[in-house]
Symmetry: C2
Subunit: 323 residues, 2 copies
């Protein structure tokens, strides 16, 4: 890590390198961690490397003065969610951290949140870069492994496949209604700040799901990526949309559905399964401890079907582009 | 890639995805490139993954209004230099690009420079993230592979080992004297904007060098990392420092030596070799087409020796901290 003043260098050493060195040393995947020109990782035999990067800038992707521990936890979780969507197992991550200045208390809180999230998701920090910049900015690179040829992709959904989502949708969108207020943490804010990357579920879908994606931009947008990549359409069953009781108690049915369909940031998985694999799916999902709900079916006819006229008008007024 | 306006999204599609998709498709290492939740890479059997990240911010790491093609070329080359320092072969890279706005002409020039550099160094773009931010900022993640257990590290230098550097030193530091002026490109500026990552040399050092690093912060600083990691000292032979005729003709011997010792950005390799492997080294270096020069020897006594008093005073007045 570079570009920090001598004092900051000591802090980074204290809050990142020292703490993570032990964690990485205990990982089978890390042969060489922080402190050389590169990190060196071991992949299990007959596995492929899976990697993704995500950038988050203050005031664009998270509020100014976001709590550093929450920010770190959420940013790492959302980056790892991309590994979950591929059915991959975490190997390690790197962090590029850019800021006008870094105070000791901020670094302490941030590294605390980062470390506890990294432990929770069993992913060691293996390198990074700390630089001076005009705004607080984070780039996370996550690395994982998957058995060769098994990775879940967006392409692969076939007509007749059932469409599933994990958990419940719309809570993180509801959190945006509370984010700017000085509200005490509620269910929605908890869902927004502490998304759970569906790593176990993702792995359990290998050989079962025909396609998968994580829901970061909203169900319609992300399912749309599966449909576009696979060259198919979908018929949705709105009545089946899994929504939390908190969402249904706080909002009208129409607003709750709209949040569930278009709200991003839930980081649940959306995936498709051939009908003959549905029993296998239920067993796998149960083992991974995550509820999965069938919300529709893949269709030969392109586009999205099953949304009623009123719902479509609401979505369009909210900026959703029908396709 | 996300967060761009619809028009920018088309430009990114045009300048990055479309162009690099074909390149990645022709690469044996890329099983899945840009366009899914993650990229999927193949590693050769019995190889390890090698990875590094570098962030560059406008006005901190490169001048405001830097030429986009030069900027892209230099940034990618310096990131790849870390792979060279490990003796690794490139597999692919990702780019996080953040900017207040992106014009078509800037994107065209930038992608042109990026693509030509990627082709020159045989490293496909496999993913990235484009975001809105207050300043132009680039983060490059490079991925490579190395035969298991063979990666060159900073630790490993032993007393009696010879210290070598590739190419010549100090030119990139000299370029800083011309960077702010509106000078036509000269030898120094060429060295600054177009460093050549020593990939072939790095690979040829596997099994030969006992330690290695790339010179990004200056010879003394980077050799210092080898000495610290290896728990040894060094005796330098200043008369042997390889310097370009341009440097020696433009500057006094003292200034040229100071630039060669403390100037960063040359991205040559510094490495150590046991005396019994020096003949093997000369053959390998010749095959990779890069001059290597012995500039000293590893010593049991900690610290750096061989700098005369006058040179030390010059270095200290230039901010160099003796250790």
């Amino acid at each position: 890590m570079s570009d920090a003043s001598p004092g900051e260098f000591d802090l980074i050493q204290r809050f990142f390198k020292a703490r993570f060195a032990e964690f990485a040393a205990n990982s089978n995947s890390v042969d060489l961690g922080i402190g050389d020109d590169c990190a060196v990782l071991n992949l299990p035999t007959d596995h492929q490397l899976v990697t993704s990067v995500d950038s988050l800038n203050e005031s664009v992707h998270f509020p100014v003065n976001a709590h550093p521990a929450k920010l770190a936890r959420r940013a790492l979780a959302t980056a790892i969610s991309d590994l979950a969507a591929m059915g991959a197992s975490p190997l390690g991550f790197t962090l590029c951290l850019s800021a006008p200045q870094l105070s000791e208390s901020w670094l302490q809180d941030f590294s605390e949140g980062l470390f506890s999230a990294a432990e929770a998701f069993s992913i060691p920090l293996i390198g990074g870069d700390t630089t001076r910049g005009q705004q607080l900015s984070l780039s996370f690179q996550v690395l994982g492994s998957v058995a060769a040829g098994q990775a879940l992709r967006r392409v692969g959904a076939k007509p007749g496949d059932k469409i599933y989502v994990s958990g419940s949708l719309g809570d993180a969108r509801a959190a945006l209604d509370y984010l700017q207020e000085n509200t005490a943490d509620n269910h929605f804010l908890e869902r927004y700040w502490s998304p759970i990357p569906r790593l176990s579920l993702g792995k359990s879908l290998l050989g079962i799901a025909s396609s998968a994606i994580d829901i970061s931009d909203g169900l319609l947008a992300d399912l749309g990526h599966i449909l576009a990549a696979s060259g198919v359409g979908a018929k949705l069953d709105l009545a089946a949309l899994p929504m939390s009781s908190a969402l249904l108690e706080t909002y009208s049915r129409g607003d709750a559905e709209r949040y569930a369909l278009t709200g991003g940031d839930d980081y649940e998985l959306c995936f498709t399964v051939a009908p003959q694999k549905e029993i296998q799916l239920q067993q796998s999902a149960q083992q991974s401890g995550v509820t999965v709900t069938c919300i529709g079916e893949i269709d030969v006819e392109l586009g999205l079907h099953g949304l009623d006229k009123q719902q479509l008008e609401l979505l369009e007024s909210a900026g959703y582009e029908h396709f």
